[in-house]
Symmetry: D2
Subunit: 343 residues, 4 copies
Amino acid sequence: MIKVGIIGGTGYTGVELLRLLALHPRVELRVITSRGDAGKQVADLFPSLRGHVGLGFTEPDTKALAGCDLVFSATPNGVAMTHARALAKAGVKIIDLAADFRLKDPAVWEKWYGMPHACPELLAEAVYGLPEVNREQIKKARIVANPGCYPTAVQLGFLPLLENRLVDPVRLIADAKSGVSGAGRKARVDILFAEAADSFKAYGVAGHRHWPEIRQGLDAAADRAVGLTFVPHLAPMIRGIHATLYATLVKTDLDLQAIYESRYADEPFVDVLPAGSHPETRSVRGSNVCRIAVHRPHDGDTAVVLSVIDNLVKGAAGQAVQNLNILFGLDETTGLDQPALMV
Amino acid sequence: MIKVGIIGGTGYTGVELLRLLALHPRVELRVITSRGDAGKQVADLFPSLRGHVGLGFTEPDTKALAGCDLVFSATPNGVAMTHARALAKAGVKIIDLAADFRLKDPAVWEKWYGMPHACPELLAEAVYGLPEVNREQIKKARIVANPGCYPTAVQLGFLPLLENRLVDPVRLIADAKSGVSGAGRKARVDILFAEAADSFKAYGVAGHRHWPEIRQGLDAAADRAVGLTFVPHLAPMIRGIHATLYATLVKTDLDLQAIYESRYADEPFVDVLPAGSHPETRSVRGSNVCRIAVHRPHDGDTAVVLSVIDNLVKGAAGQAVQNLNILFGLDETTGLDQPALMV
Amino acid sequence: MIKVGIIGGTGYTGVELLRLLALHPRVELRVITSRGDAGKQVADLFPSLRGHVGLGFTEPDTKALAGCDLVFSATPNGVAMTHARALAKAGVKIIDLAADFRLKDPAVWEKWYGMPHACPELLAEAVYGLPEVNREQIKKARIVANPGCYPTAVQLGFLPLLENRLVDPVRLIADAKSGVSGAGRKARVDILFAEAADSFKAYGVAGHRHWPEIRQGLDAAADRAVGLTFVPHLAPMIRGIHATLYATLVKTDLDLQAIYESRYADEPFVDVLPAGSHPETRSVRGSNVCRIAVHRPHDGDTAVVLSVIDNLVKGAAGQAVQNLNILFGLDETTGLDQPALMV
Amino acid sequence: MIKVGIIGGTGYTGVELLRLLALHPRVELRVITSRGDAGKQVADLFPSLRGHVGLGFTEPDTKALAGCDLVFSATPNGVAMTHARALAKAGVKIIDLAADFRLKDPAVWEKWYGMPHACPELLAEAVYGLPEVNREQIKKARIVANPGCYPTAVQLGFLPLLENRLVDPVRLIADAKSGVSGAGRKARVDILFAEAADSFKAYGVAGHRHWPEIRQGLDAAADRAVGLTFVPHLAPMIRGIHATLYATLVKTDLDLQAIYESRYADEPFVDVLPAGSHPETRSVRGSNVCRIAVHRPHDGDTAVVLSVIDNLVKGAAGQAVQNLNILFGLDETTGLDQPALMV
């Protein structure tokens, strides 16, 4: 059994991680820490886990964590990097579900997250945990930077176009819609039920932290600096991201459907839908799958890609478990094979 | 492997049954029939099942069904009873998720469902599949009548009070709230999103088909005819039933909490919450658990019981799988051990 | 024009009051105070009011308020009573939308609200602002205690039964469901969209502040102490209260429909629906109407009353405007005649 | 009083029209027809209109309609054009809320709506009822083609850019999200609550009937053929459209904010929000306002315009009343001055 610890774990990605690990046949959860809820039983905070998780939250404790094979950090941004050196030194693998190790350039990190990076040398070493791109590097990583939710949906949608140089890379548009759980489990007025229900809005049009993360990935895929307009929106649903991507094709005598199917043929968690499909976010609710459809409206030169994920699963906790499976040489789908709760 | 067939299966209980069976390690799904969708792949209708269910719907075909060990009937009311004789004769176990075998009295059935019963002799033999009451009979049954959603939540909530003669049995009140999936997957204006969202209403106050079913069960528990007022309501959510039950205690020097905990101590799918709790339907979303809390407000003589289930799981498909496990001598939780999708 | 001031006004009852006053032909809004948002334009906080409300929030200022004919207090509990003496002395009418003046007994108030009452002499004088009961007293009041949302729906539903001595008064049950706006505009985790959407729960079963308020009103109607079990629930919708009321009839040879129609025949804001109806909360969304249906299931001795209001309108701001109309001798429907936004 | 008739009126645009006309001080509703619901009282179908609309539905009857000053047609596509000649001949003004008179080219109409046009001569004469573009022509029109919901939001958002030749007209992108009421009040499985709630999807990517309508309007504004990619999405909310528009600026030394404010300075129903704003659909719920914000992310050459309307008001019934006001020389805001129901 793989001995696992969790730092944080009282937010939505944390409870989702607990739900998934409760189903994982090769994982033994040893410790879960929380500054605010130390002393409480996990199952008291999250009754859905009664009978599944017998642990209580404890104060953050490096020694207990150092006894694990792997530690997930499911804390706010800026916390994982303060634990990373000690854990890495103790030989513990780290998967950070926050943003601390996602951006390779410490200056960019500081600009977008408003604090200097605590361990730039580990940042250089960390592997961006998008298995569909970095599977081989993840296998050998000590620190895996689990991708953000929007970046997962947007990158998986754009990759085949950019890797194959099929589109103008300077005019990419990602219009993304997220469920409200993406904003986290924080006491804030703007994400109250009575504010966010039965309404729809864009936010962060002037700039969003996932923009540099997405660009970093797309730059690598295109092997050049891309131009990206990214507009996130808040949709009145609990989970789910729907990214609608627009790009100008540089040639149109292409079988986009075949290109997408080929790119993801061996990927267990990317499902290219039949031509003409419109994926719904509910078709991935609770599952680790990204479903993608590619369109070329009116047979013109604009490609429209529809990419849906569950922001808490493929966009967070599920992808983290996928990365655990890769790190420990397990079948990548271990513990991740439940169908979505479509209705 | 247990060879399983499904009649129907394009409604919400059907797709939920498919989701659960896809996870069941001892079941092999052999055939699924649908008059309306014969020829279509299951996964085309329900993309969430892509990669999980490789079958297509076929025309109803008694021979194919007769080759199964067990057949689930997930059709509208009145269909299962037309298949039952042939299947029973062929030695196939039947679990009917509709109402055909729930009411023991054919006259009552005819009154509430508007048609004569097609096989009253099998009705007499059929076992009402509420494991918490009839586990032993279910083990030997040929036909299991899977309980309705409201009846499951309401009976599990009232049983300890009635079995122990703690309340006045002639003045029971069940105020029940259901998610909209309880109305089925039918093209109807009144359950459109734009009609049912952001609103709340009672319905069927004058009489609802689950009333005689609940009464039948409560009569048996109380060993006398009970008086029951049952008011169902439609809540703007997809899944979930919340039953709020009221009864007048005949004595008040009781530890209701201990009585409930004791009654359900060995039940894998009934979870009595700590005193003072308020179960949320989301705490059972997608899981087969019934969570119950019992209150005595202001230390008076009124017991208030809160009972929540997922109407599609413990209220339908999950309970059906639980009954399959009982019928075939498996551990009752086989294939049913996923935690709820609380967020 | 009636010169009106508002204390508070940044919560949901406040913004609703602003919406309604913007439509009122006889009201001139002179001042609106907010400790937290002083200096901001109302329309910046609530863009729906752009072009309708030109005022900004100011610091609480007794002098400015004293220049008004009427002041609405839309603050948290415990604030209005600190302003009341000064305003009453200045000859300003007060309508308090919070609870400060609702309970006639200061000891009961202190018990449920956890603080001593600041002006018990005004408490004695204040009139409980349920026009359907106290219209004549409201006309002459200096201080009107605007009723709570649950109390409005529950009292209007029970009144005809109790006033006519038709039911056993010691065994009343009120099972009430509220939209999430009823919890207020506060940064709290439990009313986040991702917590409250697609779920249903009871709360406060052990005791809720509206219980003594409802009992006070029902005691008066029954002219004796009633017994009431009150269970509030949180429903995943923005607005609306649905109260389902149960009472045991002492005689059953009654035309309940006629009794209800007669009781409310002259009430502009109570609509008794035809026999057999099930009112939906959306049928009163945004309007000041209470719709009621009365049932006697299976022709038994249990009366079931369904009563719906918009918690922010008839349950708060709309009723406050109705009280203003009464106080100033206007037609009671002035400014309150918009139909509900049913879809 | 203006004598008004309605053909149809049992769909969502119909009931919304009734709600708005009930508030209109200069309109007298004389007749409302419905083939399916003739004989029923309007208020029985829509309890929100009890006390506001005393009429019943009648069979379609040209004579009764011919006695009106204006007839709204709120029927499915293809019906209004069968009534238009007779009504026009009788001197009755017509406002069609469906698509019959929106596309100027009968061949385009036939292609997208699948039937030949019944009165091409009236099509030529009809005025497209977007007041912000065609106010002067509307004043003199006999037939007003009330714009579609998406076309209203998208055109109002793009107009200032195209009229001023500020963007590349061949690469316009409109990513639009609609509440479910936009699909109409029809018994269809895909818009059931249990299908559409808590999910998000695109639809009609290959082609949507509003695409030629939008293009027709944008072509006129740009005075050339534009290139437009239009992707509609279904959002889990009742009302509201949020259009997110993308265009490439041909020059960037512009004050877009000032250009938008100037373009709509005199428009009573277009509200340009302060720079940096993100309009929410709820800020226009139930009101006739279109709120717009214009952004230039990262000071680049992509303009992002956010445009929100209530699809049933400014996107249908409200705009129809606005057109009535124009046709009869009333102040354009008559009957349309209620603030939105933001919460």
